[in-house]
């Protein structure tokens, strides 16, 4: 394995807009909202930025292509701006670009900003249609909930879990996120919900009901990164550094080869293993203090906790029901409400997850502050169980 970037990059500042149905804002206003907070937090001037990475996934419904929308909105000083898109994992992709620029020495200060303005389509849910003219001729007429619902059917089949047990477990996943989201003033959905409401909600794509699906939100999040040395020289305390950044992308074997049974994320298993290696983590169940994972659907979170090698394969649903991932559990997961309640503006989500880890590690998470977290891990997934981009990031205190 390559040497990696452990402790070569520090987060200097972060910002995150209020997520939600931001009828008052376009993508530009959201970008600025996140950026203003990040640059103030970093304590540097825009003119000091050397490069920027800009993530959006569904260009067609908001700002369009290229790095120009970011550069123009922020009036950046004609620095390189790279537009990145890796589906729902785009936010982490922007962060990765910025981190690699700093780690390589090409930039002292790099900006990663992700935004998505989804609520200008006129209908609920994610905009449909993708994949180009050949896909349009043969790929099933599916949606994100329909694709992830199949993770649930395959998981039940693979591990002999009853429909009732699974429904309860994934219901608990959402219940927990609503409990957490209620404490987050920036979250899209800030209301705790009763288990009965969750279990009896209308079906979206069986077995996933309404509360098994995350919010479709507008929002933006940003990070400014530098080296730990520069951060120290700027007088920063409680420095948060990047311990690992890994990405794994499907190559078609899950969707095209009969070796995959549909019950897990092949890529997440690979990316997390590499990330633990890069970060020097031997026993993640004991060493990771908290998670923000890609809970686009409740079942995604449940299965992901197995693929991140925290819960035993086929037993994650028991950990969930035991409260292992609750705010007061052994490893809190989605302490900010997750995609479920904080919301899921596609291009911003990976950075939003890091924003919570950063706040928690600096002790600035307010009502939801955890006691003394040391290592935070994010997992940001794009695509469908059969074909996806899985990215993980591990951040922690810089000792």
């Amino acid at each position: 394995m390559a040497r990696g970037i452990k402790d070569k990059v520090a987060i200097l500042g972060m910002g995150c807009s209020k997520f939600g149905e931001r009828w008052d804002s376009g993508a530009e206003e959201l970008m600025l909202e996140a950026y203003k907070e990040a640059i103030a937090d970093a304590g540097i001037d825009a003119k000091q930025l050397n490069a920027a990475w800009f993530s959006t996934a569904i260009d067609e419904v908001h700002v369009g292509k290229s790095g120009i929308p970011l550069s123009t909105t922020l009036r950046l000083p004609n620095i390189p701006v790279t537009h990145v898109e890796n589906m729902c994992a785009s936010g982490t992709e922007a962060f990765r670009g910025a981190c690699y620029a700093v780690a390589s020495g090409a930039a002292d200060f790099a900006l990663a900003l992700g935004v998505e303005k989804l609520k200008d389509t006129g209908y609920g849910g994610l905009p449909g249609g993708r994949g180009g003219p050949l896909q349009a001729l043969w790929s099933a007429n599916g949606t994100a909930p329909g694709n992830f619902a199949q993770l649930a059917t395959a998981y039940m089949t693979a591990h002999g879990v009853s429909g009732e047990d699974l429904k309860k477990a994934i219901g608990h996943v959402s219940w927990k996120s609503h409990q957490n989201g209620a404490k987050n003033p920036k979250a899209h959905l800030q209301k705790a919900v009763e288990m009965d409401t969750i279990l009896n909600a209308p079906m979206i794509a069986s077995p996933l009901g309404l509360f098994d699906c995350c919010g479709v939100s507008d929002g933006a999040a940003a990070a400014i990164v530098t080296t730990p040395e520069i951060a120290k020289a700027l007088g920063k305390a409680n420095i948060v550094s990047v311990k690992a950044l890994q990405l794994s992308v499907s190559n078609g074997s899950e969707s095209g080869h009969n070796s995959w049974d549909g019950s897990y994320f092949h890529t997440t298993r690979i990316a997390s293993k590499k990330a633990y290696e890069e970060a020097g983590i031997k026993n993640p169940r004991n060493e990771v203090s908290m998670f923000e994972v890609h809970d686009c659907f409740s079942v995604t979170e449940l299965v992901t906790m197995e693929d991140l090698h925290i819960s035993e394969t086929g037993k994650g649903w028991k950990d969930v029901l035991d409260g292992f991932y609750d705010a007061d559990g052994k490893i809190p997961c989605q302490i900010d409400g997750g995609l479920k309640c904080f919301g899921h503006p596609i291009g911003a989500s990976g950075l939003r997850m890091l924003y919570e880890m950063y706040l928690q590690l600096q002790g600035r998470a307010g009502a939801r502050q955890l006691k003394d977290p040391k290592i935070g891990m994010t997992h940001n997934l794009g695509g469908a169980p059969r074909e996806n981009v899985s990215s993980v990031a591990i951040v922690g205190r810089y000792e």
């Binding site: 389509t121 006129g122 209908y123 849910g125 449909g128 249609g129 003219p133 050949l134 349009a136 001729l137 043969w138 790929s139 099933a140 007429n141 599916g142 949606t143 909930p145 329909g146 694709n147 619902a149 199949q150 993770l151 059917t153 395959a154 089949t157 209308p202 079906m203 979206i204 794509a205 069986s206 996933l208 190559n251 078609g252 074997s253 969707s255 095209g256 080869h257 009969n258 070796s259 049974d261 549909g262 059969r386």
Partner: protein
């Protein structure tokens, strides 16, 4: 000896309950009460005359190789395309293109028999000829046609080897007797008074043609074992038979009670029905009326009993789901301005150049088989999908439409737009190898399970109404 060497049929799964139709419309058309009996076949929203003809052709070719077919005649009055060879789509779906003459036969309810005559003549040289006929006609709301029509298809393979029904002779007359018509801009038939059609049309045109055919075949009316004659007036075939000396017992049932009149396909559908039980030596007379009349006479041979089993008309009729929801029938057929929502607005434009490059994949469901590791895969790709192989340019085409698949995972999606929500789809795997995320069709909650066996079926995937109705066809999985 030239004749029919194999037969096949297709009937959509749904059967519209006629009483339900009548109950919805009786406030307006109380006079339809006499027709409010039994059921008619009803296409699913993703079926048209092409998809039904493909299914009937596959049924017919159960016992024969598609690549041996040299001619395809496709009869219909509801070809989905005015200019684009409909018969050619069937050919591509069956993976035959080279050495193939494909031709559409249309314009009359006797198009099916005219195609069959052409097919029999074409196969005299020994070239296997596939004759397919299908119709999906619409009647106006609260009309008798709406109740009487049915959707369905038949296919007959003509040839000279192992003939199951030898052509004894045929006779045709063509005269512009307009009992009904459907103009270029019309969705529905416009017909004249039934009594006039019976007295001036059938009674004066059909008997002389039958008599001429009998004379040419050196047969008497009483020699006919099976008398096949579709008609919207059930008494008419009996009258024609009587006039020509054909025994009343020979007159075949019109299949009105549980199928309906399948238009230009109906004579061939009834012929398949007869062939399923016909005995060696039986004489079958097929009469089709429509601006003239076609008469064909066949003699069943000993080969008929040896024909390998297929679904046939009886098999497809037995696969049945009653539909009492008349609103659904109207919505499936774009007769109801239902609120489809914004997700129905996505552009369905087809890149014709892509369709051409990938036609074996899209229309033929042809995947690939790796020469290095033997892995079957769909779609065929340049680099083998097997994680332990990844050989480059190693795959031979591998036809998968005839293979049975299993459901690995599935969902019932209420979010995506479907004309028949919820949309069922899921990952299907082929035991030989290969898998893909497929739309399901003809599926009910009770049937779709992990591990369920699925059969691939050729269906409409999308209809590009923005561009005059370019239908995208692809294969879907249906419960076995």
């Amino acid at each position: 000896m030239v004749g029919i060497v194999a037969y096949g049929a297709y009937v959509p799964r749904l059967r519209l309950n006629r009483q339900a139709v009548y109950d919805a419309n009786k406030w307006f058309a109380a006079g339809l009460r006499g027709l409010a009996k039994g059921e008619r076949s009803m296409s699913n929203w993703d079926e048209d005359s092409i998809t039904m003809a493909v299914e009937a052709s596959r049924d017919c070719l159960t016992s024969h190789k598609a690549e041996d077919v040299r001619n395809i005649y496709f009869a219909s009055t509801t070809h989905p395309f005015k200019d684009r060879q409909n018969a050619g789509v069937i050919g591509t779906a069956l993976n035959i293109e080279q050495n193939l003459l494909a031709s559409d036969v249309a314009g009359s309810l006797k198009a099916g028999t005219s195609a069959l005559i052409a097919g029999l003549n074409a196969s005299k040289s020994g070239d296997a000829t596939l004759v397919a006929a299908a119709d999906k006609r619409m009647g106006r709301v609260a009309s008798a046609n709406e109740l009487n029509y049915g959707d369905g298809a038949a296919a007959l393979l003509c040839g000279t080897e192992n003939v199951i029904a030898k052509l004894v002779g045929h006779h045709s007359v063509s005269m512009d007797f307009v009992d009904h018509f459907r103009g270029e801009d019309a969705e529905f038939d416009y017909g004249w008074e039934e009594r006039w059609i019976r007295d001036e049309g059938y009674s004066k045109i059909v008997p002389p043609a039958i008599k001429a055919a009998l004379a040419a075949c050196k047969l008497k009316g009483s020699d006919v074992t099976h008398f096949i004659m579709p008609s919207p007036m059930p008494a008419v075939p009996k009258q024609m038979a009587k006039i020509c000396g054909v025994g009343e017992g020979a007159v075949r049932d019109l299949l009105g009670a549980n199928l309906g009149d399948t238009g230009s396909a109906h004579a061939l559908v009834m012929l398949v029905d007869a062939l399923e039980t016909a005995k060696e030596g039986d004489k079958i007379m097929v009469v089709a009326f429509g601006q003239g009349v076609d008469v064909l006479v066949f003699e069943v041979t000993a080969e008929n009993a040896k024909l390998p089993k297929r679904k046939g008309l009886s098999g497809w009729l037995a696969r049945r789901k009653e539909e009492k929801n008349y609103m659904k029938f109207l919505a499936f057929n774009e007769m109801l301005p239902i609120d489809k929502g914004m997700r129905a607005e996505f552009d369905k434009k087809t890149a014709l150049s892509v369709l051409w490059r990938k036609r074996d994949m899209i229309y033929g469901l042809v995947g690939g088989k790796c020469k290095v590791c033997g892995t079957v895969q769909f779609p065929r790709s340049q680099v083998c999908v097997n994680p332990n192989c990844h050989a480059i340019d190693s795959q031979d085409p591998y036809a998968m439409a005839g293979l049975e698949a299993n459901v690995m995972s599935f969902t019932a999606d209420s979010l995506t737009y479907s004309p028949d929500p919820p949309a069922y789809y899921g990952m299907i795997t082929f035991p030989e190898g290969g898998r893909f995320m497929a739309d399901f069709t003809d599926s009910d909650k009770e049937q779709v399970k992990v591990g369920a066996k699925m059969r691939m079926t050729f269906r409409i995937r999308d209809n590009d109404t923005m561009r005059g109705g370019f239908k995208r066809y692809f294969w879907k999985a249906a419960p076995v």
